[in-house]
């Protein structure tokens, strides 16, 4: 077996170790490289900035704990921004396993920003049906969610004063890890009830949402941990996403290096095989 062949069949645990170290070391010793803000993230930020005080902002946390590392920091930044702008925040989720986490992030950020449940924000929780929930909210929010997550009648909450359905919501952002998510909110929500829609998603599904972004079906897109880090930079409160960018830089470069090495060894083997065949 040649050196190249040996390298191509390297024990995968060595690769796991390299990736593990590339994640761990930058987290322990951060470098803090500058993060450039992309236009799609800035669009979301600018739209929230442009909203007048007391506007209704709906954040749908459509993800489960598996996507927490990427989408949780996005939720924290968006909530901080919305609370700083004194918007009325409605939180909800279309993903059942994410309910507890969604409640936790909204309650925690609201507490940090000195906001009160029922008065400044409400967490509606989860309701079965996915797209049907969106249509139902578009028709009548109080029929879709008669009570909030804390069993308070939604019709009596000051935060929802003047809000009858999705037409009364100024801005909706779906933080999605798949379907049901941003596309569902567009097809069953924005298209009919005419509210502005933005999105946040995991890195892996972001490329699939660019057609919606380019056509204006969503006005902005926060993609993955990078998007979350950009938003943290924009609101001036660096958090877990910015801290994770060094680790992501290192792992990306480790994978690039591994791919290059794999191709070098592959070409070496191919060249030597062809040479042997010619002889």
């Amino acid at each position: 077996m040649t050196f190249a062949e040996r390298m191509l069949s390297i024990d995968r645990r060595i690769i796991f170790l390299v990736i593990g170290l590339c994640t761990l070391i930058p987290l322990l010793y951060p470098v803090g490289l500058a993060i450039k803000v992309s236009p799609e993230v800035r669009s979301v930020y600018d739209y929230i900035e442009s909203l007048p005080e007391d506007s209704v902002f709906l954040l749908s946390l459509d993800f489960d704990p598996a996507s927490k590392p990427e989408l949780y920091p996005q939720a924290v930044s968006l909530l901080r921004h919305a609370f700083k702008k004194n918007l009325r925040v409605i939180g909800m989720t279309l993903w059942l396993p994410g309910t507890g986490m969604a409640n936790e992030v909204i309650s925690r950020v609201a507490r940090e920003e000195g906001k009160e449940s029922g008065k400044d924000y409400v967490f509606l929780g989860w309701s079965p049906g996915g797209s049907s929930v969106i249509i139902n909210m578009g028709q009548d929010l109080y029929k879709a969610f008669p009570t909030d997550y804390n069993n308070q009648p939604t019709s009596e909450l000051p935060v929802l004063k003047g809000v009858q359905n999705l037409r009364d919501v100024s801005y909706v952002i779906s933080l999605a890890a798949g379907t049901t998510g941003i596309e569902t909110w567009y097809v069953f929500g924005k298209d009919k009830y005419k509210f502005e829609l933005g999105g946040g998603c995991t890195g892996v599904i972001a490329p699939g949402l660019y057609p919606l972004l380019r056509s204006g079906q969503i006005n902005g897109l926060i993609g993955g941990l990078r998007g979350a880090a950009e938003y943290e930079v924009l609101i001036g409160r660096k958090g877990k996403a910015v801290a994770g960018m060094d680790a992501q830089s290192a792992t990306h470069f480790a994978i690039i290096l591994l791919v290059i090495l794999c191709n070098v060894f592959y070409l070496l083997i191919r060249t030597s095989t062809r040479a042997a065949e010619q002889r």
Binding site: S67, P69, G129, Y210, G224, F253, C262
Partner: protein, 216 residues
Amino acid sequence: MTFLRRQLPLLITLVSGLLFAAQYYVPHPSSELMLTSVTKWLQIIGGFALILGVTSLFHIHAVKIRRKEPGWGYSFILYAGMVGTIVIGLRDGGKETIDGAATAFGWIYTFMMVPLQGTMFAILAFFIASAAYRSFRARSREAAVLLIAAVIVMMGRVPLGEYLIPASGDVTQWILNVLNASVRRAILIGISLGAVALSLKIIFGVERAYLGGGKE
């Protein structure tokens, strides 16, 4: 029986399909009221679908445990986990916290489900790296193009890439906004046309697979 098993479902599908396709274009209050009622039905049916799914899962794993099929131990753990979580969840009213204090259900959610799901997803990074090393090879021109595009996008999406090669960020944006978006759009249009065609076939009773098999 044929009427109940075949003709009635087909009739309901035809009437509902045409009615709600037309409803989208009719903003009259009675049309909107009909939509509100039907979506509420859908939400209720969605709830029942959840019960159906859980029941089916219970049944499948109960059979595995009873027959002691290979891997029945995992089924037992799943069974115990599900039953335990349901019992504790019902006791705590499905709440993770009550008056700020974590419930037992909240403890299970925060310290078992959240880290377990996070771990499962995080493991992907290791497998992706290993798989990329073993299989991401420039065997053809097309594969080489894919490889180069992937390397550029991976560089352009992290600060270190933009620091080393400042143009990588802009090139990545171009790849995502132009090449990726146009191809994705073409795929989406194809899928949507297929969905429209399939919907029409179902509404008009050409496609009947959803009715299931069984005797006429």
